[in-house]
Amino acid sequence: MIQNLRLSSSPHVKDPTTTRRIMLLVIAALVPSAAASILFFGYYSGILMLTGTISAIAAEAIAEILRKRGLKSLTDGSAALTGLLLSFNLPASVPIWVPVIGAFVSIWFGKMVFGGLGHNIFNPALIGRAFLVAAYPTLMTASWISPVLTNSTASGFINDKLRTNIESVVSSEELDAMTSATPLGLLKDARRVLSNPASTDLQKDKARGSIQTLYSWETIKNMFLGNTGGSLGETSALLLLIGGLFLCALKIVNWRMPFSFIGVVFILTWLIGGTNGFFSGNPFFSVVSGGLMLGAFFMATDMVTSPMTDKGQILFGLCAGFLVVIIRTYGGYPEGVCYSILIMNAFTPLIDRFIRPKKFGIQEVK
């Protein structure tokens, strides 16, 4: 007779998927985009991403030591993922200390103060990014222009015609600084010129010309493939899409979130995003530009900070998409993905409170 066998609660078998495996798969899905950004922006961007990732792990380690909880949580891979996602949000030319600060803010103020993994309300990477944008606005936006314009291998996007258009807009229009050369930034500038009553006809013509160029298939194709200005990880919509769909197929990402998110941006931009009344926006431009792909597939879908149910995920996606279009069209920033997601993060507990799965056995008796 054998005594002292192991006693435990059922079930006695478990699915092989662990938290760690999920985090590592998300990181794996980001690798192609990371590689592309090294290709487009040069090896320095690789150093930035590595720095961000390592800093995030270090930040978590320090916090765990201070909380006297041991370093076990480091192995789950979530800190590394946060660090990498944060780096994806940086322009390629920022100094090396920027991802370090961003990662520490992300981990400490985005995650650890709430009690660690699973307890945070906001997406930690976006907290880090929001902090950096607020603290170092020039570094975080203006510097986007340099890698694209100076790096000959990546000059595909800003074609000559567009460049003359930008220059004429900038030089004649007394904007305090030419803020950015991301496609969305250019669009915003052109819109500003158009809506400014002081603009001359010539300026307006040039602005319209810019919009036309931005909305051309050539530009959209470049943006889709990754030949465009922007932050590190945002460049190639295509690669992000592939990585994102890979996660959807593995059910790590609930496809309802990115599809509703991107779908709303597509339709709403088409409807109100143009300058010639309704239905003059370019929906294709809107979905491949800026951080939308990254945000919709990798940021909004962060498990900890998004709703629990399918319906909740759709609602989150729809609202976030709506906010993105509003910010892009009417707001002060050219891009609004980061803030839209952060705003919706705040609503997640509320969504989960009211949108629940249908409980078995409470259907009306017929």
Binding site: S9, D15, D352, P357, K359
Partner: protein
């Protein structure tokens, strides 16, 4: 045929291949057996024998006490060694009648009450035989069958569902029974249908048992009282509420019973047991159980109730390597045992041995709100939430978000990437809430 199913659920590795081709073999009676007096859900039965008494095979040794209880019979002829607390596979400790088998263990059927003409039995007579024979649900829950057979006043059964889904991984006892003793199940089902006055019988088999499906297609073709339903292979397909939902489209109301939607669910093994009781007069004293996992030989055995697991393992050549866990039932809902010195009881659908390495578990980590548990819960609960409430002791909220509706299927714990012991926490909350209600009722 369209495969029926329910919402939610999981796909654990099936592992049926380990034992599905082993024909049922009759396990020899051992020199000593120990028959617990609690074999069912509800109250333990009252011992009718004492130390030193001689007993005959089939003799009643424990009498049902209270409404939800069942008679217990001696599976062997011999002498009572003791009536005392021993290891119990479900409750840990419980009163058992330990019997020393006599060497000339010849079956005596003097006590067996054989129905003269089974075709002519009235519903009440059938229920009485079930009661006298100590028949309980053999799928694992072990609810006394006679209590369920006759519908409570004001309610009635529309249909009878024979549960042959056997959705627990590893287990193949019902499958072998459906292949080897289909006529017993068929006739047993007929008796049940007669007793419960249902108009139609369905037999539900999961699609991962194609041979059983083929066999039963043959058996049911041309019969208009019984129909075969092929179920999608998914856990917990065989859970009562999920099965009813898949076949009839009805949902057993929260807090209600299957009879509320006019359905009676019985395990195929129970139907075979009723057949034995009616046609040969043999009470429920043995059952088919699957012995599988880390044992030298895997088998589907017809074991006398009360046989020690250690004897069974020895019969099968011993453990394969060092055993980590011995589980009564399947891996999803089975109960792990501290020792193999426990007896098989009427509800033991399987004995699963897991090796040392299979028995080590990863530590729990923080919930990452991945929503997997929500997706798989067949009851539509948010398991992470109930578990969190259970942890903080907030029973009120745990109850209001559905703790009592949990069927303890374990799907949530199975899928959780953070390895949280969700069912355990939910079960805890559930038990506390029920205990509190009882206390409130007594005041």
């Amino acid at each position: 045929m369209r495969k029926l199913t329910f919402k939610g659920g999981i796909h654990p590795p099936e592992k049926k291949e380990l034992s599905e081709n082993e024909s049922i073999i009759e396990f020899p009676v051992r020199p000593e057996i120990s028959v617990p007096l609690l074999q069912q859900l509800g109250a333990p039965s009252k011992p009718l024998v004492k130390k030193g008494d001689p007993v005959k095979k089939g003799q009643m040794i424990g009498e049902a006490q209270g409404f939800i209880s069942a008679n217990v019979h001696s599976p062997v002829s011999g002498k009572v060694k003791d009536v005392d607390y021993t290891n119990h596979p479900v409750t840990g400790r419980g009163i058992s009648v330990t019997i020393l088998t006599e060497s000339n263990n010849t079956p005596t059927s003097d006590d067996y009450f054989k129905a003269e003409d089974p075709e002519k039995l009235s519903p009440q007579e059938i229920a009485d035989i079930a009661k006298n024979s100590g028949i309980v649900g053999m799928g694992g829950a072990s609810f006394p069958t006679h209590v369920k057979l006759i519908p409570p006043k004001g309610k009635n059964y529309e249909s009878l569902i024979l549960n042959g889904a056997e959705c627990e991984p590893y287990l193949t006892a019902d499958y072998r029974l459906m292949l080897e003793k289909p006529e017993k199940i068929l006739l047993g089902a007929k008796l049940m249908m007669k007793a419960c006055l249902a108009k139609k019988t369905f037999i539900a088999i999961e699609s991962n048992k194609p041979e059983a499906v083929r066999e039963w297609e043959k058996l049911t073709s041309g019969e208009d009282w019984i129909e075969l339903k092929v179920m999608k292979t998914k856990y917990p397909q065989g859970a009562e509420k999920q099965l009813i939902n898949a076949i009839t489209g009805k949902e057993v109301p929260s807090g209600g019973l299957p009879v509320d939607v006019g359905v009676l669910v019985q395990n195929v093994g129970t139907a075979a047991a009723l057949y034995d009781a009616v046609y040969s007069g043999e009470p429920l004293i043995k059952r088919v159980t699957t012995v599988t996992g880390a044992v030298k030989r895997r088998a589907n055995l017809l074991v006398p109730v009360g046989t020690y697991v250690s004897d069974i393992i020895e019969f099968l050549g011993g453990y394969l390597g060092e055993p980590g866990k011995v589980i009564f039932g399947g891996p999803m809902m089975g109960v792990s045992q501290r020792t193999d010195g426990v007896p098989v009881i009427k509800s033991t659908s399987g004995i699963l041995v897991l090796s040392k390495t299979e028995s080590t578990e990863k530590p729990q980590t923080n919930c990452i709100r991945c929503s997997r548990c929500v997706t798989v819960c067949p009851i539509g609960l948010m398991p992470y939430e109930i578990a969190a409430r259970s942890e903080t002791g907030d029973l009120e909220t745990a109850g209001s978000v559905g703790a009592l509706d949990c069927i303890e299927c374990g799907s949530c714990s199975f899928i959780c990437p953070a390895r949280r012991d969700l069912v355990q926490l939910i079960r805890l909350a559930k038990n506390k809430i029920i205990a509190k209600k009882k206390r409130g009722a007594q005041k």
